[in-house]
Amino acid sequence: MNLLTEKKEQELTEIAATLRYEAIKMVVDAGSGHVAGPLGMADIFAALYFFILQHDPKHPEWADRDRLVLSNGHICPIQYATLAYAGYFPKKELMTLRRFGSRLQGHPHRGALPGIETTSGPLGSGLSQACGIALAGHLDKKRYHTYVVTSDGEHDCGNHWEAVMFAGKYRLHNLTLIVDRNNIQIDGMTEDVMPLEPLAKKYESFNWHVIECDGHNIRSFVEAVAEARAIYERPTVIIAHTIPGKGVDFMEYDFRWHSRPFKKDEAIKALAELRTLKGRITSEHQ
């Protein structure tokens, strides 16, 4: 991986801001969809697709590409926005999210859209699929790396832990798991619905290498990935501490924004906050 210059870091921060704005515009336009998760994961998606991943948007099936498996498929608006900005498909298609006949299905579907590695939406089986992809890479002596994004709520699923054990057993060091630790799920805070802590200790006891980072500090995330890539005998989990709804004051930290539809005034306010980075940019035409 290259060195992350300050200039590049600044650029990624700006891309993340644009992605947040696009993701919310898409959900508002679609009239339904998930919002808290996508906003919280914007910085990580910008870092992944615009700095970390070895990929070629013009050749999405390039055999040696790094794989990004999205397990918590409901946050797909942020992945769709990222893929479009990375050049996988025309940006204007973003506004077809969830519409009849669209390639941007309500939950991501492999084959429907270039850049989507697996079908997801039903939670808890992304890590298993990623283990399969990483294992195949290992068998074929390929050098690609497999990244998986999961949510914290998904950790309630038994299937996820079956895969955690598997990756530990087969020492899948070509696999990096990124957990969106935003502390919310649909029915409330994760620690009320089904407590996950101590999460880091759980992974350690399953023979994983564990790194925690600030999911909104791009440098901290990039360093975590660099460390993960340097670990040669175990899979790594990066527990990324994120703020659900990041970037819009009235949405941050509130589990009710998991997938709540916007009222008109809320949409206007949210988009204005995202466009101006909470008022820090005064010109509407930055």
Partner: protein
Amino acid sequence: MLSKASKVLPNFAKGTLTMSSTRDGFGKGIVELGTKDKNIVALCADLSESTRLDDFKKNFPDRFFELGVAEQNMAAIAAGLGLSGKIPFIASYATFSPGRNYEQIRTTIAYGKSNVKIIGSHAGVSVGPDGATHQATEDIAIMRVMPGITVVVPADAEEARKATLALGSLKGPAYLRLTREKSPVFTSESSPFKIGHAEIIWEGESPSVALVACGPVVFEALLAAKDLEKEGISVIVVNCHTIKPLDEVTLLKVFKKCGALVTIEEHQRAGGLGGALAELTARFYPIPIESLGLPDRFGESGPPSDLLALFGLSSPHIISATHSVLKRKK
């Protein structure tokens, strides 16, 4: 014309009916049931509001259990509760329960004969924008072949309320299939509902085709019947809300009267209501059948009405299926 006994609201075609979803009917029913019977408990997997368990949770916090996103665990825990005198209702989306936890349901609930009620919401393509991952279109098939499980698909919110109450007093495991989208409430409080009884809701004079449906598309069949009557084609409409046990007596009588059948359901053409009725006619009284449903493909994102049209499940499609089946009659 409308069957008197069915107590279907006579103004059904005027577009003035109350709109409500079958999951809303369940939400009401489960609270009524909880009030009557202290053994009713409800389990949920991080979807309490969408499955309409929130009122039950408010009213009976000690009998509501939040499992997190863990449908397999939910099924097996419910099995244990059911074996110990409780009447557990487990609620999620049908794609996850009975979709994800099929084997746990099979072994611990069905084979283990535990008195668990499986509530599968968001069934069918009318789920809309969430797309195929969230649209259950195989659930009737997988539940109907499982030994010992009663399968009920209510046609509107009022019927879903009654079905919930009826399942509470039924001994043994059952599956209740619900929908997300609001649909016309065309049955009334006094409409009869009994598990295992198919309801004849429309009967023309010397009918030539039977339209048998389950779920909210029963309403589309009624609209079709009304239009067909204007064309001079007389039909019987059956609300076949119980897929198992199938009301063979009523259905065979209807088949003998009509001599042709159109089945309508928000499900794969294979294995659901259409499949069950094809098995029945093949065994006892073979007649031409047209089955409306998904032709071995998944749903997709879109507005519910467009999806129902895409898959040929609204009244104009029922009318053309009626024409086709009539042509095949000897």
